[in-house]
Amino acid sequence: MATHALAPGTQTYSRGTLYEWLTTTDHKKIGIMYVINSFLFFLIGGVLALVVRTELATPGLQLLTDEHLYNEMFTMHATVMIFLFVIPILAGLGNYAVPLQIGAPDMAFPRINALSLWMLPLGGILLLSSFVTGGAAAAGWTSYPPLSAEGPLNSPGAGQDLWIVSIVLIGTSSILGAINFLVTIFKMRAPGMTLFRMPIMVWTVLVTSVLVLMATPVITSALVMLFIDRNYGGHFFDPAAGGSAVLYQNIFWFYSHPAVYVMVLPAMGVISEVLPVFSRKPLFGYKAFVFATAGIGALGFSVWAHHMFTTGAVFLPFFSLLTFMIAVPTGVKMFNWVFTMFRGQLTFSTPLIFAIGFLTMFLIGGINGAFSASVPVDFALHDTYWVVAHLHYVLFGGSVFGVFAGIYYWFPKMSGRMLDEGLGKLQFVLMFVGFNLTFFPMHMLGVQGMPRRIADYAGDAGWNDWNLAATIGGFMIAASMLPFIWNVFVSLRNGKVAGDDPWEANTLEWATSSPPPPYNFDHLPEIRSERPLFDARHGRVGH
């Protein structure tokens, strides 16, 4: 974090000492630290994924001869990726962007904001410490009881308890963050920034925060009950004593399905910022997009049991219908994005390329999800690698590509320097090819009957080639991180100076210096539309 002179005129604020960073309540520094912290956990989760993929490359147990260790690996991979990477990195981008985009000086509760941030590494360290205290949780990130209960064949030891405590901690961080976002968005918008002039990024963070606020406490309750069952002799989920195993699944998915939207809506917000800027057109159908976002949020609470079609304890038609219906607002968004580019003037900078990657991958992730909405088809596909393909097309092809679009888009604002375009495109190509090589074959594995979460498979089942391809792809994804990390290090020192508004963007964060002053704005342009900077640049008054 060394302070050094930057180009004349643009940079007048020091980057701050390490002490300032660790004690800051500035939403911009907190947002950046969210991103850095999450990225470190992304690397850890990635290594765990590589261990899993290496084990599965060929039939037989090679790397992890103890299958329990294999179960620990994929459990921790999913837990780290979901709770310590995707959710917080999007919260981090939101933390950085939202106050700037609505013309506010900071978040509503800056100290609670810092608390939310620092709970994350604490939770992460607790979670990972289970590896050295007798074994990590190994019951899958879903941790269904009775497997996650006490018992010699279930989940003995402290790993599962540490898992519960850290998820509750991270969840609390999310809830506090959501309250902070909501109060900030409702109370601290600049004059003229009406709700329907807010950037889509702000809208998606708003809906996401509502989902977090309503859903995260519910998983906290499920985890608390699980903890009581494990440690204080409770019987919530113990069928032998009158409890119910499926009860946990209902409560868990009541959170975890909305959580899927928590993991993808802000990434959709990023895409909705990037596409108009690099197409030189407004977002097509702004209001429809807002309503679609809200619709996804509302429907998101009524589809949870589609994760439980095969339990035999679900009213199937209701959840099937709503699951199909949630495809409609998602489809509306897809068309809005495509028609934003349609008849535009596209500049293929790295953020746009990642955004297009998002569109193509998320399209597949949406389509292959519809298969599972059809209950009989889900009977065939549930808990196979098809589901693994689906969720990665949504959460990696969607969210992670969106995250990188956001990082390339806002890095100049955060640092005052541009990231290198060549390295960015190299990263994209490696990631895009590696991603599809890893996850597309999982469709084939799934329909041919390979279940998830198995450490080994028969060599004559016909799954060898696709598994090997997926493993090679996994290492390609890992390789794609190298140009990115190099890019960040080089560009922080020698990158092209960004200036206030390198992309000719639309929203308020580009109306201040790069990086912005601690109080964010000296001036605000007039806000008469959702594109105040565009209006100012082209001398327009609203629309």
Binding site: N71, L153, F284, G312, A327, V338, F348, Q448, A458
Partner: protein, 368 residues
């Protein structure tokens, strides 16, 4: 201020159009050459599975069509509308168009409603269970082995199959059922959640402790003699991936003979123990009561084995030598039962005795 779009040079549109055409051709080629067949489930072996497969094909057709249309639009927009150095003026600032927005809300809604209705119809066939099925099987999934109880029409147990996997050498093991008959399976678990999954049935159903699930299937007549792979599909612990089973399709006559043989085997008096030393071993709470055993070298011996775990929890006592080669492979027994195992003479040395179901159950056996 807004400008009308200038006429773009033709090559852009040509290139974009060509790429879209190539994309469509590629998708078509993938399916025409049979590469696309890897995206379809295997041929269904049951009448219920065929329904699912028919539904899958319809959903898949929609999926490919939607993919081609939207991906084509994306590719077209990306290639056709790149910014030229000469593009100084802004493109038309279109904020939206109510008509197209209504169209792309209504059409997807229609598609998903159609898919929902046909899914629901198929579900009613696939999920139907009859009051009087031809065959009743009670499948019990415990960590980490299946067992299949064959029931009569009143639901009383007539035989138990404790070996879930078909052995090609002995032709023993597996869940045999007759083709062309309705088979009703009830599912119970004494411990955690498992799932009964046979890929060629295109079907799975969770085995939930404290809840009896039920489903039916009828295997097609032309599948006689087939041995289908089955596997637990819900993570159930360390031995999850080894929780395999087979479903064997027999002609009704062969099935009757098979069941008679199973009943006989169930009722057979256990083989008398060899005239050597006899050890007593018990298993409880997924562990043996002894960590070390010792037997005389080069002499047959026996073990009286008492499985004190609850029903549904299977154990046995197999032996492997120092190199990991299994030298004695015994049949598992259910919780709450006893048996006598006879072992062939072992050369002097140190061996490991273990449970073939639970990897954590091991001990040292010394022959001296």
């Amino acid at each position: 201020m807004s400008s009308t779009p200038r006429k773009r040079p033709a090559p852009d549109a040509l290139v974009a159009g060509a790429v879209v055409a190539i994309l469509i051709a590629l998708v078509a080629a993938v399916f025409l050459t049979g590469w696309g067949s890897t995206l379809y489930p295997p041929d269904a072996a049951t009448s219920q599975g065929r329904e699912v497969r028919g539904l899958y094909d319809i959903v898949f057709a929609f999926a490919v069509a939607i993919f081609v249309v939207v991906e084509g639009l994306i590719v077209w927009s990306v290639l056709r509308y790149r910014r030229k150095p000469t593009d100084e003026e802004l493109p038309v600032q279109t904020h939206g168009n109510n008509l197209v927005e209504i169209i792309w809300t209504v059409i997807p809604t229609g598609i998903v409603l159609f898919l929902f209705v046909i899914s629901w119809q198929t579900l009613n066939t696939v999920d139907a269970v009859s009051a009087q099925p031809d065959i009743r099987v009670h499948a019990i999934a415990g960590q980490f082995a299946w067992q299949f109880e064959y029931l009569d029409e009143n639901g009383n147990k007539v035989a138990t199959q404790l070996a879930p996997v078909y052995d090609t050498d002995t032709s023993l093991g597996g869940m045999a059922v007759p083709v062309g008959r309705s088979i009703q399976v009830t599912l119970d678990s004494p411990d955690v959640i498992h799932a009964f999954y046979v890929p060629r049935f295109l079907f799975k159903r969770d085995v939930v402790p404290g809840q009896t699930n039920r489903f039916e299937f009828t295997i097609d007549e032309d599948e006689v003699g087939q041995v289908f792979r089955g596997q637990c599909a819900e993570l159930c612990g360390t031995g999850h991936r080894a929780m395999l089973f087979n479903v064997i399709a027999l002609s009704p006559a062969d099935y009757d003979a098979w069941l008679r043989a199973l009943i006989e085997a169930n009722n057979a008096t256990p083989a008398p123990l060899p005239s050597g030393p006899v050890l007593n071993v018990a298993a409880k709470n997924i562990s043996y009561d002894q960590a070390t055993l010792s037997v005389p070298a080069d002499a047959a011996f026996g073990i009286t084995f008492d499985n004190q775990d609850p029903p549904g929890v299977l154990h046995d006592i197999d032996i492997r030598d120092g190199s990991g080669r299994v030298v004695a492979d015994q049949q598992t027994i259910d919780g709450g039962t006893k048996t006598n195992y006879a072992y062939d003479p072992l050369a002097a040395g140190s061996y490991t005795f273990f449970c073939s179901i639970h990897a954590n159950m091991t001990g040292t056996l010394t022959a001296e």
